[in-house]
Symmetry: C2
Subunit: 219 residues, 2 copies
């Protein structure tokens, strides 16, 4: 019996939006991959073994069957999507998709994702909870920029759904976990629904009951 | 007399690293462009006119002669470099370059550039100065990741100098302005020197005397 060759291994935390981006695209591409669960909320990206894969101590990353490593969720999306319908072939459209992906990492994720992390993975008496009002205010600003774009476009990747949508969807879809309301953003809510309706869409796996209880508690 | 057609207009603040990236690449490409100076440190990205160009209120951005706009410094670099020696043609190398460019925006810029902004553009009694020790500590961590890469590679863009080097150079070269010492990072210092030695390299323009005095003052 010959062991099956798996071309790609993902190291990721399933309930991290940055990691879920990679799973969502791989599922939509119908790719075969192995998933190695890494609990980045509890230090597992700081072991010597993990740091040998990524000295920057972050998930997700992918390892090819020859051992080569690629880090940074949005760079992984770009590499996986090359030559597929999830990344436009036109240079200007690709640049616009990348622009939204840099917006996601610089302006969106550091408030939407960080507010969710603080609410779900730090204790109720954590001093970091003092950061929440400011993060939630900045998150609303990022969502307002998305709302404005969506008044004149269906997607962030160009004419069609693609990797910039996946990048922005991941944490926008769980914004409520960070105490961020989507009610003021009807275009964003409609776009989230369009993403969920895409073929082979998979939702982020459920968090633990402990984390869910923290999400449900008031700030 | 026919007015000369300029294909590209850059809106940027000359002494911002994110904006200088775009100038440096355009100079190295030998491209013709017009530069519109925008003082983002004093609110000029929040005028109605500017927000019509970029609702996210950030420089740099480029405007093509047909009015189309592209935002986000690293997306601009990617678009400008497509088909030139500053961006590898190989898909895996491109993805590695993008990985470093996402690292730059997520892990490097938010400490290296923000420490510089606080030291140079906020008053000596600004409460934001309390953020400096933590930002400087995180900056050292980002520089250590770069140092490790440079022990086994000359560049961040692949086999040759290119846009990931430009992206990381911009604020690394002025790290001292943020009170961040490069002494512990000999590989980074040697790489900075290699970048400065590239053909058609242009340094960032000088800051005002007022900002320079703030940089030179102790924290």
């Amino acid at each position: 019996m010959v062991e099956e060759r798996i071309p790609l291994t993902v190291h990721g935390m399933s309930v991290s939006g940055n990691c879920h981006k990679v799973r969502l695209l791989l599922e939509q591409l119908g790719s075969r991959y192995r998933w190695v669960e890494v609990d980045s909320a509890h230090g597992q990206t700081h072991t010597a073994e993990f740091l040998a894969l990524n000295p920057n101590a972050k998930v997700p990353l992918i390892v090819r069957d020859d051992g080569r490593v690629l880090t940074e969720s949005n760079a992984i999306l770009f590499w996986l999507a090359e030559g597929t319908p999830y990344l436009p072939a036109d240079g200007w459209q690709r640049a616009q998709a990348l622009s939204w992906m840099f917006f996601e990492q610089y302006t969106h994720e550091p408030c939407v994702a960080v507010a969710r992390f603080i609410r779900g993975w730090t204790p109720a008496d954590s001093p970091r909870r003092a950061e929440l009002p400011r993060l939630q205010e900045r998150a609303a600003g990022a969502l307002a920029v998305m709302e404005q774009h969506l008044r004149q476009a269906q997607w962030f990747t160009g004419d069609d759904y693609g990797i910039a949508d996946i990048a922005l969807f991941a944490y926008s879809d769980v914004a409520a976990d960070g105490g961020i309301a989507l009610d003021p953003f009807p275009q964003v809510r409609a776009w989230l629904q369009r993403v969920r309706a895409q073929p082979r869409f998979v939702p982020m796996p459920a968090v633990t009951a402990e984390v869910r209880a923290r999400f449900n508690a008031p700030d």
